[in-house]
Symmetry: C2
C-alpha cells in the first residue's frame, strides 16, 4: 500500500459532509435493519457502474436515467434490503421512481438528486407504505455516527457489515474515501457484482471520477467470484462532495487518490469473498505466462467458478487435476505439455505439483496441508510465451452454500 | 419415436458380432469391476467425438492419432475406470500406447485397431502390470452375455450401469444399435461429455457414420449438464461392423438409422443426467422465441449451470427470479419487458409465472407443487421475434453433490 494512505475502521460517513441513517422499516422480519439513507450535505459529483446482466432491476434502470441527466448534483442514496425490485415490470419501475420522490420530499431536494438501490428477493413488489414510513422516519435521524448501521441495513445473507475508509494526503490537503458493500451470493466478476456505496470529501469532476472508479472496480470487484452468478441489481456508486476543499484534478493527485480508491475497493471486494455464502476458504488464483490479461483472467475465472474445484476446496482435497480440467475448458488455447502448477499458503509458489504438464514427485501430505488452510494461493503458469497475468479471489462450495440457497426465500 | 424402432433393454453386445468382458483388475478397491473390453468379430468402421477441453487425457491423444490413420478397420475398445490417465505427461502417453499393444497381442490384431478409454482420477499414472494382467485374463472371457457387466465396469460415481439398444427395420433388413455410457460428474455439453461406446451391426462407411454421430450427439449428449465442468477424457465411439449384412447408404436408410441413433443417444444422455452426482431432480429447460438456436441453447445452458438456480431446485423452491437472473447473464441480448415464463410437470406451459416481464397473479403453492416434483419442465419464451428453440436437461445441486466431490479421491 502507498505510504500516503492511512486505512481507517471507517464508513461512508467518515468523509466530511456525509450523514447516514439505518431504519427497521419492516421489510425484514423481527425488527431488523433493512433501509439505509446516505445523504450529502452539499451537491455531489457521482460515478456509477451497474450490472451487465440483461435482466436489470428497476432501481438500476432509474439510476441510469438519473445519472444520464444529472451526475454533478446528487444528494442522497436510498438503499433497501430484503427486496430486489427486480423482474417486477412496470409497477416495479413506478415504485423505484416513487421512492426517489419520497426521499426528495423528506430530504428537501429534487427527485433527480436521489439514487435508489435495492437488494434481496427477485419478483416481489416493494411494500411502498412501509418504505415511505421508513424514509420519513429516517430523514429525521441522519447522523455522522450511523455509517456502520447503514452497512448493516444493506446486508442480505452477509454475516457482518462490510465497511472501510482510507485517508490520503494529497499535495492540496488531506481527503478521505469511505465505503460500504454487501455480498454474499450472486457474486461473479462482471462489473460491480454487488451493492457498494463509496463517498469522498474530495472535489472531483464527474469524468475524472468515472475513470478512477472503472480502474478501481476492474482491479477489485471484477476479480472476485463466489458462485458465478451475476446479480440483476449490481451497483457501485462513488459520491464526491468536495467538502474537504481539496481538488483531485492534477495528475499527481489523481494518481494518489486512485491508488487509495483501488486499495479501498480491493479491501471491500475481499471482505465480500471472505463472507461468501457458506465460505470456509479464501483462495487466491493467479494465472501467469498468458498471451493477454483477458486470457489469464478468463482461465482464472473458470477455475474460480468450477463446482468440482470449489467442492475440492471445501473438502480440503488437493485434487489439482480439477484445476487443470477447469483451465482447459476456459476456451483459451494453451499447450498442456508446458504448464506448471504451484500452491502455497504465504507465497503461491511454495510447492510445485506439475512441471511441464507432468506431475512432480511432491508428497501428497504436503499438498493436503496447503489445502487444509483457511487461506491459500494457487499459481498456474501457462508458459504461452506471453507475460500477462491475472489474479482472482474466490471461495469454496460448501454444504452451507447449498443450505443457504436451497431455501433462501423462506 | 419412429414406429420403425424397437427399444431393447440391450447393451453394446446386442448388435451381432460384438462380444465384451468386464474384469476386476485391481484399479478399484475390493474386487470391483474396473476394466472392460468391447471386441468386434470383424473389422469396423468407426466415428468418434472427443472432449473440447484444452487439457486432454493421454487416451484421447492416442485415439485421435489412431483414428486419423485408421477409421475403417477397428477391432476393439479397452476401457478402464478409476484412473483417467489425464495430466500424466509423457509417461501417461506411453502407457496409453502400451495398452493398445497389450490388447492387440491378447486379441490377435494390430495396435492401430485398438482404441483406449480411461476415466477416473486425474494426475496419477496407470498401474500397468494390473492393467496387462486384466487385459490378458479378459481376452479369454469375451462373450455376448457380458454387455451389462461392461457397462458396470466403466462406472465411476455412477450409481447404476447405463445401457440400451434400439432395433430399426431398414428397407434392406433389420439392424441393431447398442450403447453404454457413464457419468456422473464433469458433465457439461461441450461435445461428448462423458464416455460412451456405441456399436451396430449395420454396414456404414466412416464418413456417413461421422455425420450421423455428430447429429445425434448435438441433440443428446450436448444437451445435458450436471455441473458445468467439461472432462479431459470425454469420448464417444460408434463402431459399425456390418455383420447384419444390411447397408446404411441410401438416403432413406440413413434417415431411419439416424433417427434410431438419435433416440439411443438421447436416452443414454438422459440416463446420465438422472444419475448425476447427488441429483434429486431431473429438469427440462426449454428456451423459445430466440433469434438463433445457438442463442436459445446458450441461455438454456446458463440457467442449467447456475448454482443459485440449481440450489433452488434442490430446495424445491420455485425461486423463478433466479431463472431470469441466469438468463440475463448468458451474454445474449433480449428485452426483459417481453419475456414469458412457464413451469409444469407434464407439459412445460401448465403455470405461467411471468407475462411480459411482470409476475402474474399465480399462487405460490401452485408453483411450489411443481418444483416439489422429482421431474419438471421450465419454458422461457424470449419473444425476440425469432422462432428458434433449444432444450437442455439438468439436475439440482444438492448436499450430496458437495459430499461426493469434497472427498472424491479418498
Amino acid at each position: 500500500m502507498n505510504e500516503m494512505q492511512i486505512v481507517l475502521d471507517g464508513t461512508v460517513t467518515t468523509p466530511a459532509g456525509f450523514t447516514a441513517v439505518a431504519v427497521a422499516a419492516g421489510l425484514k422480519k423481527e425488527n431488523q435493519l433493512d433501509l439505509a439513507l446516505v445523504v450529502a450535505d452539499t451537491d455531489c459529483s457521482c460515478a456509477a457502474m451497474f450490472t451487465k446482466n440483461q435482466v436489470v432491476a428497476a432501481p438500476v434502470i432509474v439510476d441510469r436515467e438519473t445519472l444520464a441527466a444529472n451526475n454533478s448534483r446528487l444528494r442522497a442514496v436510498v438503499i433497501n434490503s430484503k427486496n430486489a425490485n427486480a423482474c417486477t415490470g412496470k409497477p416495479g419501475l413506478a415504485n423505484a421512481r416513487a421512492t426517489q420522490k419520497m426521499a426528495a420530499q423528506a430530504l428537501g431536494c429534487a427527485a433527480n438528486q436521489i439514487l435508489v438501490l435495492s437488494t434481496g428477493v427477485i419478483g416481489v413488489q416493494l411494500p411502498m407504505a412501509k418504505l415511505e414510513a421508513g424514509i420519513v422516519a429516517g430523514a429525521k435521524g441522519l447522523s455522522r455516527e450511523n455509517g456502520r448501521l447503514a452497512a448493516e441495513a444493506i446486508m442480505t445473507t452477509d454475516t457482518h457489515p462490510k465497511h472501510l475508509a482510507v485517508q490520503v494526503d494529497l499535495p492540496g490537503g488531506s481527503v478521505t474515501i469511505g465505503g460500504m458493500a454487501k455480498g454474499a451470493g450472486m457474486i461473479h466478476p462482471n462489473m460491480a457484482t454487488m451493492l457498494a456505496v463509496l463517498t469522498t470529501d474530495a472535489a472531483i469532476e464527474p469524468d475524472v471520477l468515472d475513470g478512477l472508479l472503472k480502474t478501481a472496480v476492474n482491479q477489485s470487484f471484477n476479480r472476485i467470484s463466489i458462485d458465478g452468478d451475476t446479480s440483476t441489481n449490481d451497483t457501485i456508486l462513488l459520491l464526491a462532495n468536495g467538502v474537504s476543499g481539496t481538488a483531485v484534478a492534477d495528475p499527481d493527485s489523481i494518481a494518489q487518490f486512485g491508488a487509495a480508491l483501488n486499495h479501498l475497493c480491493t479491501a471491500l471486494a475481499q471482505l465480500i469473498v471472505r463472507d461468501g455464502e457458506g465460505a470456509t476458504k479464501f483462495v487466491e488464483i493467479q494465472v501467469t505466462g498468458a498471451n493477454s490479461e483477458a486470457e489469464a483472467h478468463q482461465i482464472a475465472n473458470t477455475i474460480a467458478t468450477s463446482p468440482l474445484v470449489k467442492t475440492a476446496f471445501a473438502g480440503s482435497d488437493a485434487n489439482w487435476g480439477r484445476l487443470l480440467m477447469a483451465a482447459g475448458r476456459a476456451g483459451v488455447p494453451f499447450d498442456q505439455t508446458k504448464i506448471n502448477l504451484w500452491i502455497g499458503v504465504q507465497q503461491p509458489d511454495e510447492l510445485q505439483l506439475v512441471a511441464n504438464g507432468t506431475p512432480t514427485e511432491y508428497q501428497e501430505a504436503a499438498a493436503a496441508s496447503v489445502f487444509a488452510e483457511p487461506e491459500f494461493k494457487i499459481l498456474l503458469d501457462l508458459e504461452s510465451g506471453g507475460e500477462e497475468t491475472a489474479v482472482v479471489w474466490t471461495t469454496d462450495l460448501s454444504h452451507d452454500y447449498v443450505s443457504i440457497n436451497a431455501d433462501y426465500r423462506t
